[in-house]
């Protein structure tokens, strides 16, 4: 996802919708901030992502270790999770479920400590579970009961009086998008509907935090998008912090403010999504054709070259849309202005102008190779606008293709690698706007 705005991970502090909407224009169009140069973009639209760690944490673990007779599920895990939507990424067996169990106060850790909502998990499990919702990975719905009855029962199990339980159930089921079918027994539900009921039972008692274990499991692409939008809304509209586990990195890019990567029970990395998907210091521009300029892209290319820039075609030719995209090095701060003026001067329509970013998966692959190079608190890499999200590592980059180093030929190579994924991301471009824009269906 290219349009994760730098501001979303700060949404706990200020209202995210207004910013989010403006950055995610239609078709991911030109962001008002983006046109005025890097400096102001950083200054007005986003704050230093490093700040997020100084906010109140919803989950904090300190040297958390969990040993079973045969395996060590968690190994001295120290992580702080800020309010917002946080992705917990790891392969199967990485310790995700063990961590959730400990956070719910259900199994005592071998060593170390953890707090959820400021409460110690080893002593306040019951209180924590009163203010936390949990959506399990597996199916957990009895088929001969209706969604309404089930969610009402679960609400009462969390301590809601009968009348409140009924009212909240009706509300919550509507919010997750279940209407008339909620009176039918759940045996007849589709996977998507079941996932919604599972989410509803986690939300029905209005928790301060929900733990969602693989919520998109088994869903088709459309269902997955809907679920991700819903998860996003759980935070933006409902004001509930979310910890969502997944092994699909692409999902987390568009949904999460912060991503925690664990592997083999150890922390690989924890930082804002924006850091993961740092700008690659290259700008993609797409324009329309007009009568005066039948090939708008070529005209713009020529005009930009005249203006002293070096526009390039994306490396991968043949991918849908790639012929109409120009890539620009954004080393100079006035590149945005130059492009805007040039396009306006030619009378072309500006379809989009966007910053290319790293893909989380690239970072993930890189982090796996160098687990020690990423301490818990990423040292404010985003304050320096040019710093890539990963430690530059030419050696590693050479082995798996494009090196995520700043400008020059390297960056175009990276974009070339990213381009095949481009069409998919464009298709999903409209969704964040829906999710972040706070319009309730």
């Amino acid at each position: 996802m290219l349009w994760i705005p730098l501001v979303t991970h700060l949404s706990s502090g200020d209202a995210p919708e207004t910013h989010a909407t403006s950055v995610w224009g239609p078709l991911g169009g030109v962001s008002p901030c983006g046109t005025s140069g890097i400096a102001s973009r950083r200054g007005t639209c986003g704050r230093d992502p490093g700040d997020s760690f100084s906010y109140v944490t919803v989950i904090a673990t300190q040297s958390l270790t969990m040993r079973f007779p045969r395996v060590t599920a968690l190994d001295r895990l120290t992580v702080n999770i800020a309010p917002g939507v946080t992705g917990l990424v790891g392969a199967n067996g990485a310790g995700k479920s063990t961590l959730i169990k400990i956070l719910l106060g259900l199994s005592p850790a071998t060593e170390g400590s953890a707090t959820v909502l400021g409460l110690d998990v080893s002593t306040h499990g019951g209180t924590i579970r009163e203010s936390v919702g949990y959506m399990p990975e597996h199916d957990c719905l009895p088929p001969d009961v209706s969604a309404t009855e089930f969610v009402v029962h679960m609400a009462r199990m969390t301590g809601l009086p009968a009348a409140a339980a009924r009212e909240r159930t009706a509300d919550t089921l509507r919010h997750v998008g279940l209407y008339e079918e909620r009176y039918r027994s759940m045996g007849s539900y589709s996977t998507g509907m079941k996932q919604r009921v599972k989410l509803a039972q986690a939300l029905v008692h209005d928790p301060q935090l929900v733990l969602l274990d693989e919520p998109t499991n088994g869903l088709d692409p459309v269902g997955r998008d809907d679920m991700l939008d819903l998860i996003r809304r759980v935070h933006t509209d409902f004001g509930i912090s979310v910890l969502v586990t997944s092994h699909l990195l692409g999902e987390l890019e568009r949904t999460c403010d912060q991503v925690v990567v664990i592997d083999g029970g150890t922390l690989l990395r924890s930082s804002a999504t924006a850091d993961f998907t740092q700008d690659t210091a290259s700008l993609a521009v797409e324009v329309t054709d007009t009568d005066t300029h039948p090939d708008g892209t070529a005209a713009l290319r020529a005009a930009l070259a005249e203006a002293g820039l070096r526009p390039q075609e994306p490396a991968t030719v043949g991918a849908p849309g790639s012929g109409h995209v120009l890539l620009l090095d954004t080393a100079e701060e006035d590149v945005f202005d130059t492009v805007r003026d040039t396009v306006a001067g030619l009378g072309l329509g500006l379809v989009r102008m966007e910053q290319r970013r790293h893909h989380i998966s690239e970072v993930f692959a890189d982090s796996t190779e160098h687990p020690t190079t990423h301490p818990t608190d990423e040292p404010g890499s985003a304050t320096t606008s040019r710093s890539p999200g990963v430690s530059p590592d030419p050696g590693g980059g050479a082995t798996d293709g494009p090196a995520p180093t700043g400008s020059g030929p390297g960056s175009s190579g990276l974009d070339g690698a990213a381009t095949p994924r481009q069409p998919v991301r464009q298709h999903t471009a409209a969704h964040p706007q829906k999710g972040g824009g706070g319009d309730v269906a």
């Binding site: 209202a15 949990y134 399990p136 969390t158 809601l160 409140a164 509930i240 824009g437």
Partner: protein, 303 residues
């Protein structure tokens, strides 16, 4: 901890369409762990009679309940009509009198109480709520016991009401009722305890039903046969000790010696007071054991 509701959410609503009322926070009371445990108990108790579940779940328990109560009504009606001076059956003997019906009920209902949660993996959802594992076990155990008390206690109450209507001796009948109710509770604890701890071992409902029926009836028949043989051999003492071997004969001997009833042991064999204490102890150990087994079963079950 959680951020303020977004401005967009706050300004929504009002003149908008009905679906667009935005998210509402819950500021009402949260009644906590004991309330949740009680709710689970009530929910499970209702579930044993199929209340709050699909119609077909109600059929079997309701039919069995009717079968259980019908003889009591007939007995009462005939006793009142005939002006008899005592009921045709002891209060304490009624549950054992209809033991097959009760056994089927226990076997059908115990898996309903615990197996469904295991089979559909609802158990982790409960444990992610304020209740602890011990609360879950207590609620489920209690629900089945209460369900059985209702099942076997209702006909006893019918008998009592009928006896009073028939102008039988009040003091006599009330003492009998008291004994009958004590027996009902002990019966429910023993049968329910054994059944629920067996049913919790398997998520498969069918296996649960079969296992409960097997454990409740096979030893009962076996013990009955052995007692018959012992009695024929003239080993009257042995009859008593063999009676410790099945839940059904345990209860029979218990009500014979402690609650002043009469056992169905072959040859009209009586269980003496001292032997009755042994019976009571064995029953207590079995009840405690089945509860401990159930706790142990859920110690590991979880997310």
């Amino acid at each position: 901890m959680s951020p303020e509701p977004s401005p967009a959410a706050a300004t929504r609503g009002g003149t908008d369409v009905i679906h667009n009322i935005g998210y509402r926070k819950y500021d009402g009371p949260r009644l906590g762990r004991s309330y949740a445990r009680r709710s689970l108990f009530v929910h499970s108790l209702r579930g044993t009679y199929g209340l709050g579940r699909a119609a077909k779940s109600k059929v079997l328990p309701m039919i069995l309940f009717a079968v259980m109560c019908l003889p009591a009504l007939i007995m009462v009606a005939s006793a009142v009509y005939a002006g008899a001076d005592e009921l045709p059956v002891d209060y304490t003997a009624y549950a054992t009198f209809l033991l097959p019906v009760t056994s089927i009920f226990v076997a059908a209902v115990a898996p309903q109480v615990v197996s469904l949660d295991l089979r559909f993996k609802t158990v982790p959802l409960y444990f992610s709520r304020p209740i602890e594992r011990s609360d879950y076990v207590a609620a489920k155990f209690g629900a089945l016991i209460a369900s059985l008390i209702v099942f076997t206690g209702t006909p006893v109450l019918i008998l009592y009401v009928g006896a009073l209507l028939g102008k039988l001796d009040f003091a006599d009948q009330t003492l009998g009722l008291g004994q009958g109710l004590v027996f009902t509770v002990v019966f429910a604890l023993l049968y329910g305890g054994i059944a629920v701890s067996l049913a919790a071992l398997t998520p498969r409902r069918g296996f649960g039903v079969a296992a409960v029926i097997a454990v409740l009836t096979i030893p009962y028949m076996l013990v009955g046969a052995l007692q018959g043989i012992a009695q024929q051999q003239g080993e009257s003492d042995l009859t008593t000790w063999i009676g410790l071997g099945s839940p059904g004969t345990l209860l029979d001997g218990f009500q014979d010696s402690v609650l002043g009833g009469s056992s169905n042991f072959p040859g009209g064999h009586q269980v003496t007071g001292a032997e009755g204490i042994v019976y009571a102890l064995v029953i207590a150990v079995l009840i405690a054991g089945s509860y401990a087994l159930l706790l142990r079963r859920y110690r590991k079950a979880g997310l």
